[in-house]
Amino acid sequence: MSFLLGEHMTGGYGATDILHDCSIGVEKGEIAVIVGPNGAGKSTAMKAVFGMLPLRQGRILFNDQDITHLKPEERVLRGMGFVPQNQNVFTSMTVEENLEMGAFIRTEPIADSIAQVYDLFPILKDKRRQPAGELSGGQRQQVAVGRALMTHPQVLILDEPTAGVSPIVMDELFDRIIEIARLRVAILMVEQNAKQALEIADKGYVLVQGHNRFTDSGEALLANPEVRRAFLGG
C-alpha cells in the first residue's frame, strides 16, 4: 500500500469520463512521474489525486486514510502540497511574503522553514524583498515550489514544474526536487519533458487516454523499447 494512492480513479469534468480506472501511487522519499502524450489525462489524474476533479469511482488513500471526499484546502491541512502549473505565485507580493502565505495554516514560528527554503534555493534569499512578479520564469518556479514546501508537506504534487524554462534551469530544478525527496517527502509530478523526468523518477506512470498503459520504475521505462518508441521519441 502506497503512502499516497489514487485507486481505480474514474471521472471527468462533464458527462464524459477522462480517467478510466486509473491508479497512481507514490511512497515517502520517492519521486513518481506521470508522463504520456498530450490529452492523455496526465494533469487530470494528478488533479484527481488532489481533489480537484469529481470522481465517479475509485478512492484516494493518504497515510492509510480515505481522503476521497476532502476538498483541496483540507488536503493541504492534512499535509499535501500542490504547485499549480500557471499562476503559482502571488505576483504582487515579495518572495518572502509568498513563503509566509505558504505557511498561512501554521501557527508556530516559520523562520526556520523560510531559512530551509533559502538553503534549497539560495537565489531566493537575494530576491526576498522583490515582488515575485518581477522574477524570471525559473525563479518563479522556485518561489512556487518554496511556497508549497512551507507547510512541510509529506507529499508534494507538481504540475509541469519545468514548463517554459530553459534546459539548464530544468536540470537545476530537478536537482532540487531530488533534494526535496531526500527529506522523506513523496513527490508526484506531471512532466512534459518525459525523458529527463524519468531519469530522476523512482516510479513512472505512462498514461494513454486516461488508462494506465505502463507502470514501472523510471529506469525500466527508459529501457523499455516500446515506451521509447511511442513516447520518448526513439
Binding site: 505565485v89 509566509e100 502565505m101
Partner: protein, 337 residues
C-alpha cells in the same frame, strides 16, 4: 515680495488647504471602492450610501452625547462617536454580505451582476437612511470652528490676505493620515492583511495556501465600513450632512479610484488628491492672484476662471474620460491590493 506672499497666501487658503481636505475625503472613499474591487472583484455602487449610513449613525450618537453634555472641546464630539458608527456600519455591511452578496459569490456570478446587486443595495440603504434621519440637512459640528482665523493671520503677518484653517480641515487631514497609515501597516505587516493581499492577487492559490476566503471577505467589509464611516463623517463635518450629497460623491470617488488604478490602494489615495486638486484648480478664480503678481497697472475684468464653479462635477468626469482613453489601467496600474 509682499505681493508674492499675498498671492501664495491666497493660493494656500483657497486651493491647498481645501484641496488637501477634499482630497482626503475622496481618498478614503476611493480606498473603500478599491478594496471591494480588489477582494470581491466588483465596483461597489453602494459606497456613497455606506458613507452616508456611517455618518448618520455617528451623527445620531453625537446628538446623544451632546444631549448628556459630553464634549471634547476644542475637537468636535463626533470624533468619539465614530467608533460606534463604524461598529454599526460594519454590522450592516456584514449582514448585507451574508444576505445578498454571498449567494452570488458562491455561484461565482458575473461582476456585472454584482454591480447591479450593489445598486439594489444602494437604494435599499438610501431608503433606510432617509427613513431614519430624513432627506434634509443635519448639523452636528461642535467644538472650536477655527484653529487659525484669517484676521489673526493678517495681524500676525501684516499681509493683506488672510489664511484660515478650520478645525474640520485640520481634523480631516490628520485623521485621514492616521487611517491611511494604519491601513497600509495592516495590509503590509499583519498576517490578516497579507492574506487579504494574497487573496486579491490570486484567489485559487490563496485557497491552496489555506487562506479562509470567508474571513478575508469579512475583514474587507469591516475595513470598508470603517473607511466609509470615517470618510462620510469627515465630509459631513467639513461641509454638511445631506443624504443626497453622498450619492453625488459617487462619481468623483469612482473617478479617483480609476485614475489611480482600480484595486491599488496607493493609487486610490493619489487619485483622490488628483481629482480634488483638479476640481479646485480648474474652478478657482485667478483674478486676485494675477493682480498681485502682475504689473501694478494690470486691469482684469474677468475672473480668470477655467470653468464655472457650477461645473465642478464635470471635472471628475473629464479626468475619468481622459484616463479611460489614454491609460485605462490608471496611474498606478494594478488589479490587486
Amino acid at each position: 515680495m509682499t505681493d508674492i506672499l499675498n498671492a501664495l497666501t491666497l493660493l494656500a487658503n483657497f486651493l491647498i488647504i481645501p484641496g488637501l481636505t477634499y482630497g482626503s475625503q475622496l481618498a478614503l472613499g476611493a480606498l473603500g471602492v478599491t478594496l471591494v474591487y480588489g477582494v470581491l472583484r466588483f465596483s461597489n455602487f453602494a459606497q456613497g450610501e455606506t458613507m452616508a449610513f456611517g455618518a448618520m449613525i455617528t451623527i445620531l450618537v453625537t446628538w446623544g452625547l451632546q444631549s448628556i453634555g459630553v464634549s471634547i472641546k476644542p475637537l468636535p464630539t463626533a470624533l468619539i462617536a465614530i467608533p460606534i458608527g463604524i461598529t454599526v456600519t460594519a454590522i450592516l455591511t456584514l449582514a448585507i454580505d451574508k444576505v445578498v452578496y454571498r449567494y452570488h459569490r458562491e455561484r461565482r456570478a458575473n461582476p456585472v451582476i454584482f454591480l447591479i446587486v450593489s445598486i439594489g443595495v444602494m437604494f435599499f440603504m438610501g431608503g433606510l437612511i432617509r427613513f431614519i434621519i430624513g432627506p434634509g440637512d443635519q448639523i452636528f459640528f461642535d467644538g472650536t470652528r477655527f484653529i487659525l482665523k484669517a484676521q489673526e493671520f493678517k495681524e500676525m503677518t501684516g499681509l493683506n490676505e488672510g489664511l484660515s484653517l478650520k478645525m474640520t480641515q485640520a481634523v480631516t487631514i490628520a485623521i485621514a493620515l492616521i487611517i491611511v497609515t494604519a491601513m497600509f501597516w495592516f495590509l503590509n505587516h499583519t498576517r490578516t492583511g497579507k492574506s487579504m493581499r494574497a487573496y486579491s492577487d490570486n484567489e485559487d492559490l490563496a485557497l491552496l495556501s489555506g487562506i479562509d476566503p470567508d474571513r478575508v471577505v469579512m475583514v474587507t467589509w469591516i475595513i470598508v465600513a470603517a473607511l466609509a464611516t470615517v470618510g462620510g463623517t469627515l465630509y459631513g463635518l467639513d461641509k454638511s450632512f445631506k443624504p443626497f450629497v453622498y450619492m453625488q460623491l459617487l462619481l468623483p470617488i469612482f473617478a479617483s479610484a480609476i485614475v489611480g488604478g482600480v484595486g491599488n490602494p496607493v493609487g486610490a489615495i493619489a487619485g483622490g488628491y488628483v481629482i480634488a486638486f483638479s476640481e479646485l484648480i480648474l474652478t478657482f478664480a485667478y483674478k486676485k492672484v494675477l493682480l498681485y503678481l502682475g504689473p501694478d497697472n494690470l486691469e482684469l475684468d474677468s475672473l480668470i476662471q477655467f470653468l464655472g464653479t457650477d461645473y465642478k462635477i464635470a471635472v471628475s468626469f473629464i479626468i475619468l474620460v481622459i484616463v479611460l482613453v489614454i491609460k485605462p489601467t490608471g496611474l498606478f496600474s494594478g488589479k490587486t491590493i
